[in-house]
């Protein structure tokens, strides 16, 4: 199993690490039994993601996908941010090994949940659609190719 140079670069120097204390939206996905946990906090201004931070417990791919998704989403309208797909994340990173594709689902789901959390706090309808990994019994590995 080999990681692309870009995965290794984001793993070694992850962008936007941390927590926004007065966040407008928070998304938490994964569970420690699977080995991956991700938390994304966002600051939203005029439905645009002004600031975004992440914390991740997980493997190299989990950290790299979290990092790249924050970079992709920063400055984006929330309506566009929730449309970032696992394949967008993977291709932005120059590809992911098949067994690691679930990491990009976690990253995009974390972002979706943060956006919906923001909308919910403002009494608005969620827009992210189905977020499988919000269910604590969800096993992201089920999507792996094997």
């Amino acid at each position: 199993m080999l990681y692309s140079d870009k995965v290794m670069e984001h793993f070694g120097n992850p962008r936007n690490v941390g927590v926004i204390e007065d966040a407008d939206g928070v998304g938490e996905v994964g569970n420690p039994v699977c080995g991956d946990v991700m938390k994304i906090t966002i600051k939203v201004n005029d439905d645009r993601i002004d600031d975004i931070r992440f914390q991740t417990l997980g493997c190299g791919a989990a950290i790299a996908t979290s990092s790249i998704v924050t970079e992709m989403a920063k400055g984006m309208a929330i309506q566009d941010a929730v449309k970032i797909s696992k394949n967008d994340v993977a291709s932005e990173l120059g590809g992911l090994p098949p067994a690691k594709m679930h990491c990009s689902i976690l990253a995009t789901d974390g972002l979706k949940l943060a956006v919906d959390d923001y909308l919910k706090k403002h009494g608005r309808e969620p827009i992210a659609g189905e977020v499988k990994s919000a269910d604590p019994t969800f096993d992201p590995h089920e999507d792996d190719e094997h």
Binding site: T56, A62, K100
Partner: protein, 399 residues
């Protein structure tokens, strides 16, 4: 590239230059087929039988013919499981294997389990030991074969093989042990242990990869699974790997000669590692810490709040080679079956670190690992959204 600090000797070892030197003539000058009648063949046959006698002497086999050269630990394990279970056309019976065996034992056992045999996995206790009384309780009248590894490759605990073999024989079954991790590192005497079969690997003892042997006690019925020219007493066909077998035997001779000095040196390095790591990394734990019988060169830790692959990649960036039982590191989906079998919680098994020292390890290597690891763990924990929760659970447990 800077020097690699290699701390994964349980995975493989570099071949010793003395081993390589002993092998070289057999590639180009003494290249005969040991099964040919002319002088070149006879020379090869003599060298092959010398290598066999060397191995037989080292393990105290009653006869050199009890040593069958193979391509390594996996082949030996497979041959032992298939060969003993199906000997004489047998197609059913009960097989007992410990739950933390190497996959080279587990997979053939499961294969047999799908084809007429019944397989039970025997759990080790949390001390990393398969207890003879647990084995005695699991043995049945129809048990034909028991396989328990001598030294566990992940956690380094040594199993009470003599007692386990005795309990097995009392119920009329045969006993095999996978000794890939222990040969050359601790005294290994097949007669004192009272075993019927054992698997060995060359590349774990500074010998060449693709070499090893199966010990098969005289009188044990065995169905060969490599068939052809009838080499190795019809038990393993195929032209023998003479350079490899000479290399394996030479490597074993060196291990035996150097063990009296090497064992205390490795134990000292391991104990330094354990002391420093537990002293510098909060909440780190040594797996199977209660076990008193252990290999001198392996230590396995749980480092709560980090994921093993991420830790390994950061250490790799500093040219340190170690290994982890995290699921993510192996491409498999579950963390180490060994750690789970000794009761390690899944979330902690994802954060395990195996360090194994060897012939070329120095104190400076161990110290460099600790110095590099401390900030890596700190950084990964600071990125972990669950860490405060994990910490609260840990301190709650301890207080």
């Amino acid at each position: 590239m800077e020097r690699t600090v290699y701390l994964d000797y349980a995975a493989t070892t570099p071949a010793d230059q003395r081993v390589v030197d002993a092998m070289l003539p057999f590639f180009t000058e003494r290249y005969g087929n040991a099964n040919s009648l002319y002088a070149l063949g006879r020379d090869a046959a003599r060298a092959l039988e010398e290598a066999r006698e060397t191995v037989a002497l080292s393990i105290n086999a009653a006869h050199p013919d009890e040593v069958i050269f193979t391509s390594g630990g996996t082949e030996s394990d497979n041959a032992a499981l298939f060969g003993i279970a199906t000997a004489g056309g047998r197609s059913s019976g009960h097989i007992l294997v410990s739950a933390f065996e190497h996959h080279a034992v587990l997979e053939p056992a499961h294969w047999l389990g799908k084809r007429g045999f019944e397989v039970t996995e025997l759990m080790p206790r949390t001390d990393g030991i398969v207890h003879p009384e647990d084995l005695a309780a699991a043995l049945r009248d129809d048990t034909v074969l028991v396989s328990v590894m001598h030294g566990n490759n992940e956690i380094g605990t040594l199993q009470p093989i003599a007692e386990l073999a005795r309990a097995t024989h009392e119920r009329g079954a045969l006993f095999h042990t996978d000794a890939a991790q222990t040969l050359g590192k601790v005294d290994f005497d097949v007669q004192a242990l009272g075993i019927d079969a054992a698997s060995f690997s060359g590349h774990k003892i500074y010998g060449p990869k693709g070499t090893g042997a199966l010990y098969l006690r005289k009188g044990v019925r065995f169905a060969p699974y490599l068939m052809g020219g009838g080499q190795e007493g019809r038990r393993r066909s195929g032209t023998q790997n003479l350079p490899g077998n000479v290399g394996f035997a030479t490597a074993l001779t060196l291990m035996d000669a150097e063990r009296p000095a090497e064992t205390p040196r490795l134990t000292g390095l391991r104990d330094r590692l354990v002391g420093e790591l537990l002293g510098h990394i909060e909440h780190a734990r040594l797996n199977a810490a209660e076990a008193t019988m252990r290999l001198p060169h392996i230590a396995n830790f749980v480092i709560p709040g980090v994921e093993g692959e991420a830790m390994l990649l950061h250490l790799d960036a500093a040219s340190i080679a170690v290994s982890t039982g995290s699921a993510c590191s192996s491409g498999s989906l579950k963390p180490s079956h060994v750690l789970l079998s000794i009761g390690c919680p899944v979330e902690f098994a994802h954060g395990s670190l195996r360090v194994s020292v060897g012939r070329f390890t120095t104190e400076a290597d161990v110290d460099f690992l600790i110095r590099t690891l401390v900030p890596v763990v700190q950084r990964l924990r600071s990125m972990n959204p669950m860490y405060e929760k994990t910490l609260a659970a840990l301190t709650g447990q301890q207080g």
